[in-house]
Symmetry: C2
Subunit: 406 residues, 2 copies
């Protein structure tokens, strides 16, 4: 018997709402009775919560339960594809992207704008983001769905406690109060607005949408102009104590190597980032006539067995292997997922990468390491940003439930 | 009301025993009533558990409660200094150590034997360990205390699920079923026998016995002949997915550098391990006449401002700084604790280490990094091994409680 007062009851209700919604999310097509059996809640409590979720558009009651066995069948519950959507935005170095993702994880809208690489002032960048959020909100309205919150991925160090962007060297931005600024400029003030590091969100996207439910421990490498990592351990992101972890782009793979914009020398990003690979391969980073980022050109040369292109990419695989050996020696993780640009380059950089892992990881003799390309590629961060909002709704649906609790 | 059967009751009792004992451990001098108030258990349940803990010798009832305020005073409970002790053993590269630690964390016995570095066969090593455990058990009996279990620290990769030592390159041991072998050779079959990596256990010792209760996030560097790290996040060890993490000795700080026994090149251990530092300083690693490990000689030279010694140690600080910058860029942790040999060298290697952190850690501009010497030094691993047993008793005292539960 719950003896606590209103505050306690409220906490219990929030907990129960999340439990019921997550149960429906995990096993599509359960009846109210099956949800009660799985959660240990009474049928009356589950029915009341489910009714409120249906009214709020989070859940649909879609027909006979998909259940085997005897007894009267209930009706089958599932997450509503027309419920609140997560709106993800990614501020890339040379792109600006957004995605609308429904509660089931399906991507409804996915836009990418090519923008002038670098040189954007903070003012211009924030203004572009606000405009894109406005466009996406209009598109959501056209689709007849609401936006449950906005997640923003940035290629920089975000203080997790404040949403302050401390530093994004590849944008040239420092100490930007992104959370506050974007709240003001987008008008999103009554729903969550979340700001996070793009490599961390790409790692979460790989966890949520990568199609591998058995894969709970991996490091996802985002290889773009910058290089970052999202470390996922036991199905949870490990972002470091203050949120500044995963900066593998600045692991020193050649301490006496070329200077890096971060102040260090021989950082991975400087030797194996997209700009370094394109330069080594002799591919112009910004092709004449605009359009594309040089990657299509590089991939064409690789398929044509161009010697300079092959050397550039196998060298990148070697540097990446040295860095990933450090990561695995430090945190002992069984799987490396190659994301972003690296997902497309994987066939050519795989062998040198594996050779360095094999040589340098002290446990490689008996603890095998899998290297796999991401299926999401360069879309991972923006989907992770949108998914972060969706995950927030599933984990705390109470603010979205209308009508009095009964 | 607890409606569950015997299994459920047993689980609840184990949970409650641990809760009560940990409460007594955390705040010395509480009364039974105060323990009841802090845990939310009834006074009757607490009294019954405490009586069994007193009978079992885990707790003593030591006089009036240290409490401020009105009302009748209870009597003050505390962990018994004569309760079961943890016996820790460390198999070092050139030492064999043991320690007996009581429930309060006090070190009662601390022995170190110098042994022939390397070249011990597995058979010889295990036999020495068994003899030392026997000696320590006899000493415990002489002190009138029981041994609650044995923890063993080894300088190698231990599979956490099995207690199998996969590889200890500095001992030259591979695939030794340490857990099974030591159970058989020591006769410790009815109490816990735990096997773990020395750097991980040194990190835990720093957490438990380092005298800094506010320090919950740090990386502890064990600088001995090998170099390892124990990563502590939110007051818990992060040993990697399979227990093979923390191998910072094999971070590549100079990928084209000298070959390492692990198969890699330019590993930290090869450039900044004890042997490398002594060699660079011109100190014989094994002084003629035996005794000592060359460290006393090195420290003397440093105090005398010997140029070669100073260069050797400042260079080691630089390599260590490059490696620790990688660690912090990857896992974002605010404090580096220098342990083992490095604790003694800290005054001389501090400045080059800090310079590399400052230059290479991308968040160093606003997220300061503290570098501190360990107070435990080279005793950390063996104390951690003993503390592991003690922690196990505090977290699950039920097997030590005698008499029928009432």
């Amino acid at each position: 018997m719950n003896q606590s007062g209103p505050a306690g009851q409220h906490t219990v209700r929030r907990h129960n709402s999340a439990l019921v919604l997550n149960t429906i999310a995990t096993a599509d097509g359960l009846s109210r009775a099956s949800v009660a059996a799985r959660t240990g809640l009474t049928k009356a409590t589950v029915s009341s919560l489910v009714d409120r979720m249906i009214t709020a558009g989070l859940v649909v009651d879609g027909g006979p339960e998909h259940r085997v066995g005897r007894g009267r069948r209930g009706t089958a519950l599932s997450l509503s594809p027309t419920g609140p959507h997560g709106l993800g935005v990614e501020i890339g170095v040379d792109t600006l992207s957004c995605a609308l993702v429904d509660l089931t994880g399906r991507v409804r809208v996915s836009w990418t704008l090519e923008v002038e690489p670098r040189g954007r002032t903070v003012e211009e960048g924030l203004s572009q983001v606000a405009d894109l959020v406005g466009l996406a909100q209009a598109e959501a309205a056209r689709l007849g769905v609401s936006v449950g919150g906005v997640g923003v991925a940035v290629p920089g160090l975000v203080e997790s406690s404040t949403g302050l962007l401390r530093s994004a060297p590849n944008l040239g931005w420092r100490d930007v109060p992104l959370h506050t600024e974007l709240r003001a400029r987008t008008g999103v003030t009554d729903r969550p607005l979340l700001v996070g590091n793009e490599a961390n969100l790409a790692g979460l996207a790989e966890l949520w949408f990568g199609g591998r439910e058995d894969r709970r421990d991996f490091v996802h490498v985002s290889g773009e102009i910058g290089i970052g990592a999202g470390l996922v351990v036991s199905g949870e992101l490990f972002p470091g104590v203050r949120g500044f972890g995963g900066e593998i782009g600045h692991l020193s793979v050649d301490p006496a190597g070329p200077p890096c914009s971060c102040g260090g020398r021989g950082c991975l990003e400087r030797l194996a980032g997209r700009a370094a690979v394109l330069a080594a391969a002799g591919v112009p980073a910004e092709p004449e006539g605009g359009g594309g980022d040089g990657m299509a050109d590089l991939l064409g040369r690789l398929r044509d067995h161009d010697a300079a292109a092959l050397t550039a990419v196998t060298d990148a695989g070697r540097w990446l292997g040295i860095a990933m050996a450090d990561v695995i020696n430090l945190v002992d993780i069984p799987t490396v997922v190659l994301g972003g640009t690296y997902a497309r380059l994987e066939p050519w950089l795989r062998s040198t990468l594996l050779a360095e892992l094999d040589r340098r990881v002290v446990s490689s003799g008996w603890a095998p390491i899998a290297v796999e390309p991401s299926v999401l590629g360069s879309r991972a961060a923006v989907q992770g940003a949108a998914g972060w909002v969706v995950r927030g709704i599933l984990d705390d649906p109470e603010p979205f439930l209308v009508g009095p609790p009964t």
